[in-house]
């Protein structure tokens, strides 16, 4: 029953805030961190005690009821999300001393809601629950995005909300069609019955699903809104958007693709969509000067790469995808968290900020993160990239290979432009150093990047199992249906 805690506790946190508020000024903040820490420990504990493929199913009599599935792949995401959110919250503990959000209780509630919904998305195994968590994640993200109530933030919030609302309409439409034709919401049952549907209905459903999720997973050409959101929101919240929210949506989307639509043609389409998405995002990023926007484009590019990885529908490429996802989450977390401090200190978001920055620590960790994103060996990004390119080459998709390599090259242009700014010989202000806690957080994340890069075999077993579980549709069906 423990997997329910991941969803219930963060949600319940909101109701308990009045109580925590009694513990003093920092009560809510500390209790939120405590909650996330305990969730993280719980996920670790679950992972450690878990057998090779023991799966926890919480089911209220499928096909009617809801079911949460905690298998090898979802535990990966649960651990990742709780860890990242914990790190972010810890970082915020110091950030709030200088630049706190108004009405912090709400902010913590939202962060926990975001965590709960992201985990909910990953664990849910019926499509309506997915819709609900889709919306909860959306609502908390809209509010977080607009939280500063500056014109930019509000604009970002509005745009996010409008596109989110449209996405949800299409999703509901798809769900309605599915239920009308199959009479069930259970993923396993849908996946069994889906192939037997008429092709027109199938097309319509897949189209709506693609648009509904496509808007959320930031795939070209449905990612027009993303960069504005990143730019308008706080860098601190961007960290969560980029590292957590998108990843949850991506997982769900591909989970659904594997279950419903493992069409060769469709996935091939997604494959090239991903590559084009990456290429375009990287090219556009070339001219960006606003850092948040720049890294938003970089996120779009990485999502394109992940799209390619997951669309390959092979265990190896999914392994690669999970590696890339992990590396990207860690790196983007480091970058956006550092940016949050830097923006606060230097009062500018321009790329020239790095010319003024005088903080060897931040410089080094940002460089390491960016190199990892570029897929430099001995850092986390390389493992996934190499595996991905390998599986692409083995499939004989050499044009795709060329596109990805080209995109990576363009990507390196602006990354190294930034790194070049960090080494520029201009006059720099006084030294800027972070508090110990913040340094510890960033260092932990960076060490994660280095450790995975140098010793990928530490987690390779786990990730390989996760990816084989993710692609194994049949066992998922058996698991879900056999549970009642």
């Amino acid at each position: 029953m423990s997997s329910i805690y991941f969803i219930a506790l963060p949600l319940l946190f909101g109701f308990a805030t009045p109580i925590f508020a009694k513990f003093g000024k920092n009560g809510i903040a500390y209790s939120s961190v405590l909650l996330q820490a305990s969730l993280f420990l719980l996920s670790i504990q679950l992972f450690v005690t878990m057998d090779k493929s023991i799966i926890e199913v919480i089911a209220i009599a499928p096909p009617l009821g809801i079911a949460l599935i905690l298998d090898n792949v979802s535990i990966f995401f649960v651990m990742l999300f709780t860890f990242l959110v914990l790190m972010g919250s810890l970082y915020y503990l110091k950030l709030r001393e200088k630049n706190p959000y108004q009405n912090e209780a709400k902010f913590f509630i939202l962060i926990n809601m975001l965590l709960a919904s992201a985990i909910g998305l990953v664990l849910s195994s019926d499509i309506f629950n997915i819709y609900v968590f889709f919306e909860i994640a959306g609502i908390s993200a809209y509010i977080l995005s607009a939280y500063r109530k500056t014109p930019k933030a509000l604009e970002a919030g509005l745009k996010y909300l409008i596109t989110g609302a449209i996405a949800s309409i299409f999703l509901v439409f798809a769900i309605a069609l599915i239920y009308l034709h199959l009479g069930t919401l259970n993923l396993a049952l849908i996946s069994q019955g889906f192939t037997a549907l008429e092709s027109d209905i199938k097309l319509l459903i897949s189209l709506f699903l693609l648009i509904g999720f496509g808007l959320k997973v930031e795939i070209f050409p449905l990612n027009f809104w993303v960069t504005d959101i990143y730019e308008g929101s706080d860098a601190f919240t961007d960290a969560f958007f980029s590292a957590v929210v998108v990843k949850a949506y991506l997982f769900v989307f591909f989970h659904i693709v594997y279950l419903f639509l493992p069409h060769k043609e469709f996935t091939l389409f997604l494959l090239y969509l991903g590559a084009v998405s990456m290429l375009i995002a990287e090219i556009v990023a070339l001219r960006q000067t606003n850092l948040k926007r720049l890294f938003a484009y970089s996120s779009l590019g990485q999502v394109g790469l992940l799209f390619v990885a997951f669309s390959m529908q092979e265990a190896v490429s999914i392994t690669a995808g999970l590696y890339i996802l992990l590396a990207h989450s860690l790196a983007k977390m480091v970058i956006f968290l550092s940016l949050a401090s830097l923006f606060e200190k230097y009062k500018k978001e321009d790329i020239s900020l790095f010319k003024e920055m005088n903080s060897p620590f931040l410089r080094n960790i940002i460089i390491i993160s960016m190199l990892s994103l570029l897929g430099i060996p001995l850092l986390a990004g390389f493992v996934g990239k190499f595996l991905l390119l390998k599986s692409i080459a083995f499939s004989g998709l050499f044009v795709l290979l060329g596109l990805l390599v080209l995109a990576s090259l363009i990507e390196s242009v602006y990354y190294f432009k930034i790194i070049g700014f960090m080494f520029s010989k201009e006059e720099r202000g006084e030294k800027f150093s972070l508090s110990t806690l913040q340094r510890a957080v960033l260092l932990t994340l960076t060490l994660g990047i280095i450790l995975i890069g140098i010793a990928p075999f530490l987690i390779s077993d786990f990730i390989a199992t996760a990816s084989s579980v993710m692609i194994d549709v049949r066992s998922y069906q058996n698991l879900l249906l056999g549970a009642n």
Binding site: K159, I162, T163, I166, L203, S206, L207, I211, P221, L222, F224, W225, T227, D228, F269, I280, I283, V284, A285, L286, R287, A315, V316, L371, L374, I376, P377, L378, F382, V383, F386, L387, L389, K390, I392, A393, F394, G396, F398, L401, G402, V405, S408, L409, I410, S412, V413, F416, K417, I419, G420, F421, F423, S424, K425, P456, F457, S460, D461, A464
Partner: protein, 585 residues
């Protein structure tokens, strides 16, 4: 830091030499990563030992030279240098393309961090973008090869290569050639190289030119012999293409060097030209001996030359030929060392440079690439102009500034490595076949015919041999005899007190008269048509146009992300309708 670095360099060299004959290998299976059946590892072999020797030796020499400056100015350099050398050792000792790539990338990135404090942003960006392009091309090539061979080991790579389709073979070869040519700085891909060499820390430039550029050669050797197996493959056009690229590189870089005024830029072009000779003979069957020999000599001579000009730059704070001059009697040791260096660089007979040039020429003759050989010899002779410009601009002529008249000899820490190298070059000059047995072990390993060997004084080749010892002793004996003769002939000549006491059209020049010819040297060649073309053309315009194109594309694509939701909805609907139509099909 410097001491630790030097100790490490010494240690690695000592280890290398003491375990020269021993075979050592270490393999790891990568099944854990989901790469089933993929083994990576390191292994000593004759080829890797030779290149490792170059690395270790250069590292040591650069480290010794670093003691010259009083302050620990190169602290970051010597923090990174051991890591860089480690990556280089990894590159040469690995037996598979995965570790090769890892070493390659680490090399590029570490070099980037070494270069970063001294380069201008533009040069730095140029360097790293070319390095990344090279690395990515290499990665793509490796992956393509991997998809054929299903392992990454060099020994299986040839099998995998033969399994690829003709088209993929072509693409693979192009990618790999691009990757390595960028590092070598073959013409067209040298855009990054000259600026990086010129602006890098003076000692690091030495390392760059002596060692890092050789990694491109090493990569090409591995790729062409192990993967493509070019000598047994009947793929004439590839060999010719490589040779033509090499010789074009040599000719163009030589003339570019003649025009340069800045010491390090001049030597950078010279480096490109010398590597061009190596590339030229890389793809022909009899050329491997020449490749290795010339790589060795070039490493030594570039160490010598770059350390020499580093010492001069450190001494005078000037780095342009037009700002130096007349240092010969202030720094006689440096002068003699540079003289030895340029004699080797020019390939003049008594010293070691001729031996390697000789192998280059005879292998081209043997392969019947006669026009290419003519062009190589042409480039080689044209090179005299820049080597003379180099030595004249620094040491001969008139000092261009008062400060140059009162400097003292450079630090002994600069002189020690130079003397060691010069000694080696003289010894190899007299015994040109001394290193042939070592090279032959490599050639045997690469399955090519070894260089004939009888005694260490005679360098043999299919078209005749020459006795280095006789050439050198004849030269030395005649020199001493003439010297003695001149000595004995009566002379009352006095040293000129006034350096303006020269034959100058009946006038006496003053200190305001520009007497140093350093900058103008060779400029009149502008009037020669093809040289003017070489000087005027630059790959910069191509790369600038490319950048411009990319950026305008970026601006255009930015319009997708206008932030205007209203227009984006139209996009969305169009996309949906497109999908619908596509799906209905």
């Amino acid at each position: 830091m410097r001491i630790i670095n030097t100790l490490l360099a010494f240690l690695s060299l000592a280890l290398l030499l003491s375990f020269w004959q021993d075979n050592f290998s270490f393999y790891v299976d990568l099944a854990l990563l989901g790469l089933h059946g993929v083994v990576v590892g390191v292994k000593t072999s004759a080829l890797s030992n030779v290149f490792a020797l170059l690395i270790g030796f250069s590292w040591l020499m650069v480290s010794i030279a670093s003691f010259a400056s009083k302050k620990n100015t190169h602290s970051t350099l010597f923090l990174w240098l051991p890591i860089l050398s480690l990556a280089l050792f990894l590159i040469v000792y690995t037996v598979d393309y995965l570790l090769f790539f890892v070493g390659w990338e680490v090399m590029s990135i570490v070099s980037y961090f070494i270069l970063a404090p001294t380069l201008t942003p533009k040069a730095l960006l140029k360097y790293i973008l070319f390095a990344m392009a090279s690395a990515l091309a290499l990665l793509m090539g490796i992956v393509i090869l991997y998809s054929g061979a299903e392992t990454l080991l060099y020994i299986d790579a040839n099998h995998g290569f033969t399994l690829l389709s003709q088209q993929m073979k072509m693409i693979l070869v192009l990618l790999m050639l691009f990757a390595f040519f960028v590092k070598i700085g073959a013409i067209g891909f040298h855009y990054w190289l000259v600026d990086s060499y010129a602006q890098a820390d003076d000692l690091f430039t030495t390392y760059l030119s002596a060692v890092l550029s050789k990694m491109g050669i090493y990569g090409l050797i591995i790729f062409l012999t192990q993967v493509v197996d070019i000598y047994s493959l009947d793929w004439k056009i590839l060999a010719y293409t490589i040779a033509i690229i090499g010789v074009t590189t040599s000719v163009i870089a030589t003339f570019k060097a003649i025009k340069e005024d800045e010491l390090k830029r001049l030597l950078a072009y010279s480096s490109i030209a010398q590597l061009g000779y190596i590339v030229t003979i890389l793809a022909i069957a009899g050329g491997m001996g020449g490749v290795l020999y010339h790589a060795l000599i070039h490493t030594l001579v570039k160490l010598l030359l770059f350390i020499n000009i580093a010492s001069i730059i450190a001494l005078t704070n000037r780095s342009k030929l037009s700002q130096l001059g007349g240092l010969i009697y202030r720094t006689p040791h440096s002068f003699v060392l540079l003289l030895i260096g340029i004699i080797v660089l020019a390939g003049m007979p008594p010293l070691a440079g001729f031996a390697s040039k000789y192998l280059v020429y005879t292998s081209l003759l043997d392969a019947k690439m006669l026009l290419i050989l003519s062009a190589v010899m042409f480039a080689s002779v044209s090179g005299f102009l820049y080597v003379y410009k180099l030595i004249y601009g620094i040491y001969l002529g008139h000092p261009t500034h008062k400060s140059l008249e009162s400097v003292d000899e450079v630090s002994k820490w600069y002189l020690i490595p130079q003397y060691i190298i010069a000694l080696l070059l003289v010894i190899i000059g007299a015994f040109p076949a001394l290193i042939v047995p070592t090279l032959n072990t490599v050639l045997v390993q690469l399955h090519v015919a070894p260089i004939p060997f009888e005694t260490s004084t005679i360098l043999e080749s299919p078209l005749g041999a020459y006795n280095g010892f006789v050439v050198m002793s004849a030269f030395a004996v005649i020199f001493v005899l003439v010297l003695f003769f001149v000595w004995r002939v009566k002379s009352k000549a006095k040293n000129v007190k006034n350096r303006f006491d020269i034959a100058y059209c009946g006038e006496e020049p003053t200190s305001a008269t520009p007497l140093h010819y350093g900058y103008g040297m060779g400029q009149e060649l502008q009037r020669v048509g093809f040289i003017a073309i070489i000087w005027k053309q630059s790959s910069a315009s191509f790369y600038n146009a490319l950048t411009l194109m990319l950026f305008s594309l970026s601006t255009r694509l930015r319009k997708v992300y206008t932030g205007n939701l209203a227009s984006n909805f139209n996009w969305l609907i169009i996309f949906a309708i497109f999908l619908l139509c596509w799906g209905l099909e």
